[in-house]
Symmetry: C4
């Protein structure tokens, strides 16, 4: 059982590095995963740029986005995005919130995202959410449980929700599906905007979305893409060290992890890889 | 004779790495070459991201896209694209199917691709094919021989065919011509879309296409470009090891190759090159 | 006290490398910081491409942009941009002048920049300045105190000013805030232009700008982004050596620093880092 | 005297690497320089991708684009572009012919290039030339002296000429001015096309062009930019070995140079630099 958790935490960090390397995440944004054995909890890094997050930076939160154990870590102010979606959607096991430059023009212009090529069928319909509608002028961050719950309602039964003047949140049944949907969802936005500039957009039919989505969510497809993105992360010198039996410990006792200069370690392991 | 095959398989992998490095291929897409001595067969990698494919991943298929020898490898579900084009076009010896971001806006908008600068004269006319027209709602993959044959008919006597909401397939008389046509065809789409945004497009005349295409398909031109792209692959640390006499063996006995951790080997050979 | 100065000069060079690495600066542009102990002085590199500037290239200038000590260094012809803004705005402690490709289309088209996503709230209103209005045909460089003062008046109480057919100048209360505002201001222009192409732009409300800007200028936000950009600079092999106690000396005695082959040293320290 | 030639040839190769690294040149295009002591001759690499050209690949041609000494090297089919411009313009000492993706949309759409920011003032007016006008359908390459002379006439007293459906040719009084004009001319096209998409373009006045161009062509400006681009070439591992006294020899006796495996040497010197 500890192995499953260690594997999950490692995969979460790899997913985060992939999404950073694919330019979906930059200094901001965050990725989380539901606890594989306890659906009332989830793992997410402490407050830092996602590319820099290590396994030792992961904290375990309840679905109210409270730390399971006391921690000195600063946490993401928008962690409720994750907690409230996990509450509302028992079928969701992984969530990313991001501000990808491919997606933001749609969040700014209010133009609808529709799947326009087969690999983006997994995105499906993408509803809008405007924090201003329900909460008026705010600091535009989803920091209160009510705000997170409102966003989760806007997401509904879908897998991606656009946040006006802010970004997007994507959900999935697992980490690899999440990365697949997020990267090809980002590609879809880039391609859609270019087709829009050409004056005509031909989108997938409902039947095509259903059949193609089912096919692309199967492991041969998500794994083939995962292996490719992992290779890109390796080439960029960003691959985290493989999970060990002890890995769970650091997530469970963040205080001790905090005492270690996590960042220095990361730099060292990277330079080793480069040789 | 074995040297010709080894050289061909090596060139196929180099071509694949070039097209990955030039961002024509990503996690998906595939490149194949007709058997240099047996026109009823072709070589194509097993099911994996093209950048990761090694010579030991190549399988030999009949034109019905069946493995010549039993193999435990998973094969590309769209291999019939290659087999059916080789059947219909004896003059074609190399094929690539891809979803380049430069080309997809045309597959989505339905706007016509025309050659707009001299290096893209080799692309020629580009017909459309819509899987939906003949087969209705599908999972959008070209997996059945009938679907492949339909695509080959749409290609006709041309060298490139656009697949609506999906991608493109490019053919050539040889591997280097294929890479030349694919890369400059991709550049052409990028430049054409930018000229379209400026409100006017001046395309090559039929006479210019004929004369320029003939010139650019000659070895001095395709080899000069090939050498340049190879250098870019070398700089990216992606060059596969040179073909040896034994190389044919791995393609001929995929089972044994499968037993080897092909990927690990690749990583090792790359890091060596980096030093 | 010397430590504060050494830290400030080091941070100035890191900021410069970040803005070069993020493609805001190229061969041209410059970053300065007000003297931490003497508000009548500021530090800025000698005349060279910002990415190449070392701590030993920094000179100390009065607010009239005259060297505090005699120097053989060639200085930026546009240093008055910095001096005149420091004069007019006691609350400003860091300034960058740049020609980022994201921002220039607005300087050329005259279209207004408005904040369109939360991270760009810190940009606020962006006035225009046209050197031609007051000075007629010039060599388009802001080289005279009068020209600098005119630009400072156009900036007014804002934090960014667009210079027609030229570029932009950004101000901040400190170095990290400057980098945050400059990078996300650049991102904002890129995203805004893409939304404009989609035919509709939804910008932040005045209330959202006020609340969001206040939040994003707090250290947890600017430091998180700073750490991310520093990591990118490290990955690019561009991180300058850490400030030492002696660092102030080189800025104070530029003649001696000039005698050292500053550039060679830089290259060496980089290649060391790469190993 | 031999030192001047060796320095010139080295600078020509550095300029070529800069323009390759800045994505102005790819597999095609070429850069030349007039002989510093004999205005009736010029140096240009043999037929190969410009990034791959070494000093030992340089050949010396007459203004009729004939080799001064017998050579076994294949030469660029478009060398007459260079020879005919050197004939027509005694003030021109360096020429580049390229197909930069920033410039080509103008060559395809026929929209006029105008300088839109100060650093591009050095580009000046850019006339069009259409090979089809005078020569009808061709293979679109400028291979005959008549074609080169026609292009030189279209260039006239200007410094850049657009070639319809083909590319551009840029001239300068020296190598560093050529690189400056070419890179910022390319940037200008990118920025101009983005401003065009915004619906308004504000270009430099004739007075601004004159004053700004004079300033930017002075050594402090061209050298500052040159040093920056050289640093980028160094970072990319593309810097050629420094010219030695013997360098002139290889250009003077290409046969002997051809016997050496020029390419292998280049790769070796690069990997050395990387360590």
């Amino acid at each position: 059982m500890p192995d499953v958790i260690a594997e999950t935490l490692h995969e979460l960090i790899v997913a985060t590095r992939i999404l950073a390397n694919e330019k979906v995440l930059d200094a901001f944004g965050h990725v989380s995963v539901r606890h594989p054995h306890d659906p009332q909890r989830y793992f997410i890094p402490r407050h830092r740029a996602p590319e820099l997050a290590e396994i030792s930076d992961l904290v375990e939160l309840t679905l109210d986005s409270e730390p399971v154990r006391p921690t000195e870590f600063r946490l993401y102010s928008e962690k409720v995005i994750h907690g409230e979606i996990y509450k509302a959607r028992p079928d969701v096991n992984a969530v990313v919130h991001h501000h990808a430059h491919t997606v933001l023009p749609f969040a700014i212009s209010g133009r609808e995202i529709v799947p326009v090529f087969h690999l983006a069928a997994v995105v499906g319909p993408v509803p809008f959410w405007d924090q201003r509608d329900e909460f008026g002028d705010t600091n535009m961050l989803v920091t209160k449980p009510d705000e997170g719950a409102s966003l989760a309602r806007a997401l509904g039964r879908n897998w991606m929700v656009l946040m006006r003047r802010h970004g997007a949140t994507v959900a999935a049944t697992g980490i690899r599906e999440l990365v697949f949907r997020t990267v090809f969802g980002s590609d879809n936005c880039k391609l859609l905007s270019q087709a829009m500039a050409m004056g005509h957009v031909d989108s997938l039919s409902p039947g095509e979305i259903k059949l193609t989505s089912a096919h692309q969510q199967r492991p041969p497809s998500t794994n083939r893409a995962w292996d490719y993105w992992v290779r890109q992360v390796e080439k960029a010198g960003l691959m985290p060290a493989k999970a060990k039996a002890g890995a769970k410990k650091s997530a469970a006792s963040p205080k001790r992890a905090a005492a270690k200069p996590a960042r220095k370690t990361a730099v060292k392991s990277r330079s080793k890889k480069r040789r």
